[in-house]
Amino acid sequence: MNKENKLDIPGKIRGAVFKEDFDYIEEYEGKAGLSKLREALMVSEYREILNTDIKTFEWYPLEWHVFILIKSKEIFNWTDDDVVNFGYRVTKLTIFLKLYLKYFFSAEKAISKANEYWQQIYSLGDVVVVKADLRNRIVIFKITNFKINKILCLVIRGYLRSVGEMILGKKENMRIIENKCELNGDPCHEYSIEWD
């Protein structure tokens, strides 16, 4: 067992999101890609993932998810944009988004429920709406207590883009900007959603 592969990451992630990791890799990297990932997992501290029946509503170690992302980036030579894209795409497929849809009768309502949606996915971290100025085309979210891994910062950018489109509609030149990062020593993560 290679101790270097073990990540020391707290927290849990809902099975619904975690399940999408393998589906995404199979879709984009093919069965061969999935096999490579499985092989990598086999020789890692996280081989038990392969023997675990992932259930939608169950909680699983967040590090499992982070490890798969890091390994995928490594195996498939993903760029940062590829990781953002991963976050963008998997968000759309989760059942929690479908459950979260009940808030989508108005953008303001949906934005106000962001933390509730977050709590359905992650067992740690809090989301706060810093600003929601639809007229000036800017929404700012703050995430605290979520100092995990840089890779998740990229994934979250993808999440926000996806949810942003779902709430606000397709906007011209929608930009997700990470203004602050806890891993950079900032007190929190801060993301802006801006559009033209």
Partner: protein
């Protein structure tokens, strides 16, 4: 103390302690949710109807398997897309969405779906809004029916209908043309029919038409009037006996027909003669029955045309009367002239010289000729008026022929004609008018002498043929031209070749002879060839 739960937590970052019951409940709930999720997934996979779930701003938030298949997009490609990009109608979808969110639903709206591969699919949408517990609209489900096959069928049907309509239109036009032509032809036929009917109706004498089914099809007003036919007779089947003789019509009228003459031989026509009373007068008709043949040589029926002979008869009667009167009036002075000249020639008025004698002789001969003509005219007149009386008696042929031949010997000698008289084996008796038969035989012998050259031969033969006596006079004279033969027994007729030879002759002899033989129930006939001679004969029944 409750066991800290490490794997099953419902919310938040803080672990909290759950009792075993709570743990069990939490696990149960999770199982139920898993089962529900599986159920929804299976249902979504199975459902053949494409369903798109959109949020209030028209973003696709979910799509089922059928929806992905129809649009040819992956789920991940569709979620987050605005619904209007799926439709050809584009931004117009907004108005449908407004209607959906306003009215709660929209049913059966026809649109066009654009797939990922840019294929256009005709579809029909139904939509129904979704609300939360507080009655806020949180989106809607849009069901999409692929109506390609229906459209194809509709288009096919429309095409078929169009084609059929065109065919029907063409057929209709053709029918109208045909109808028009038929109408025109019918009008023409009616016109012709009217004209024909007008001609028949206005014909001065009766006309009857029998169709090819032996039914009386038309008769004109004159027929109705004269013959007493009623309109009910139209369509009546007519007895075909004796070529549809007028006698077959007598049962259809209360008029009395007197049939005078019939000829049932059908060459081109059949002739009959009849009399009928009309307005106190007797009308004599000659009825000619002739075939009606169509343009295509088809037999169409028979036409009976009535020719009023009354006028002709009256005219003939008047002519005859005139001739009779004239002849009578002429006979007396002619007789006086004859005797006067005779007396002078006989010297009763004194001597006359040769020149005077010659002139008077010529005058006498001419006068004799006139007297003969007047006598013949009188005889003809009597025959035509039915006043030519007969006095029949029983005689033998010798009693008739012998005195006549003896009496004509001078004539034979004068013309240097040899006469052979061949008698029958037996001297048969006949029932005749002596004088009239003598006239016939004398006429035949005189004609033979007139039209035979000097040194010619005449053979008079009397023989029995069946139950008749046949008397024939055969000569080797000039003969009769073929074109003149059929008119031999008509009044005043003389063949051209004999007129040149013999200017004498009234042309009445054979007419009178035929009448006499007819009255004796005999027949008169001839065989002749121009340049070779003629044989005239008559037959009389032997007296039993």
């Amino acid at each position: 103390m409750a066991t800290p739960a490490t794997n099953t937590v419902l919310s938040g970052i803080n672990y909290y302690y759950m009792s075993k019951d709570q743990e069990y409940l939490a696990e149960s709930l999770q199982d139920d949710l898993e089962n529900l999720e599986r159920y929804i997934q299976e249902y979504s996979l199975f459902l053949p109807l494409a369903i798109y779930s959109i949020n209030p701003v028209g973003i696709i938030v979910d799509v089922n398997h059928a929806g992905k298949e129809l649009a040819e997009f992956e789920e991940i490609e569709m979620i987050g897309k605005e619904i209007d990009v799926l439709f050809k109608e584009g931004k117009k979808i907004g108005s449908y969405l407004e209607e959906i969110f306003k009215n709660g639903s929209v049913k059966n709206q026809e649109l066009t779906l654009i797939t990922k591969k840019k294929k256009e699919i005709p579809i029909r949408i139904s939509a129904s809004i979704r609300k939360d517990r507080e009655d806020n609209i949180i989106g809607c489900f849009i069901a999409v029916h692929d109506i390609t096959e229906i459209k194809k069928f509709q288009d096919k049907l429309e095409l078929k209908v169009k084609q059929r309509t065109n065919e029907l239109e063409k057929a209709k036009n053709k029918l109208f043309e045909t109808l028009k032509e038929t109408e025109t032809a019918k009008a023409r036929v009616e016109d012709e029919k009217d004209k024909t009917f007008a001609i028949i109706s206005n014909f001065i004498d009766p006309i009857l038409i029998i169709d090819n089914k032996e039914k009386l099809s038309i008769f004109n007003p004159k027929a109705k009037d004269i013959l007493g036919f009623s309109d009910k007779l139209i369509g009546q089947k007519i007895d075909s006996a004796n070529n549809y003789s007028i006698t077959n019509f007598t049962k259809y009228t209360n008029k009395k027909f007197n049939i005078l003459k019939t000829n049932f031989e059908f060459n081109d026509s059949v002739e009959e003669e009849m009399e009928v009373e009309y307005k106190g007068e007797t009308i004599t008709y000659k009825i000619i029955t002739t075939k009606i043949i169509g343009n295509k040589k088809e037999f169409l029926g028979l036409m009976k045309i009535f020719n009023d002979l009354s006028r002709e008869k009256k005219i003939n009667s008047l002519k005859s009367e005139f001739v009779s009167i004239a002849a009578h009036q002429l006979r007396t002075p002619l007789s006086a002239i004859k005797w006067a000249i005779r007396m002078v020639l006989d010297g009763d008025a004194g001597a006359i010289n040769d020149e005077q004698k010659d002139l008077l002789t010529k005058g006498f001969i001419s006068n004799e000729r006139m007297i003969r003509l007047v006598n013949d005219l009188l005889n003809v007149s009597r025959i035509e008026e039915g006043r030519y009386g007969f006095n029949f008696e029983e005689l033998t042929m010798s009693q008739i022929c012998d005195p006549l031949v003896e009496g004509m010997e001078d004539l034979f000698k004068k013309n240097e004609i040899i006469i052979d008289y061949i008698k029958a084996n037996e001297d048969y008796k006949v029932y005749v008018d002596r004088e009239r038969i003598r006239i016939v035989l004398q006429n035949l012998l005189e004609n033979a002498v007139k039209y035979t050259q000097r040194n010619g031969r005449i053979v008079l033969t009397v023989k029995k043929v069946a139950d008749k006596i046949k008397v024939s006079v055969k000569d080797n004279g000039v003969g009769i031209p073929k074109k003149d033969q059929e008119k031999l027994f008509t009044k005043f007729f003389r063949a051209q070749n004999v007129v040149r030879i013999q200017t004498d002759g009234t042309g009445l002899g054979l007419f009178i002879a035929k009448n006499i033989i007819d009255k004796h129930n005999g027949e008169i006939g001839y065989v002749s060839e121009e340049g070779k001679g003629s044989e005239f004969y008559f037959t009389i029944p032997i007296k039993k």
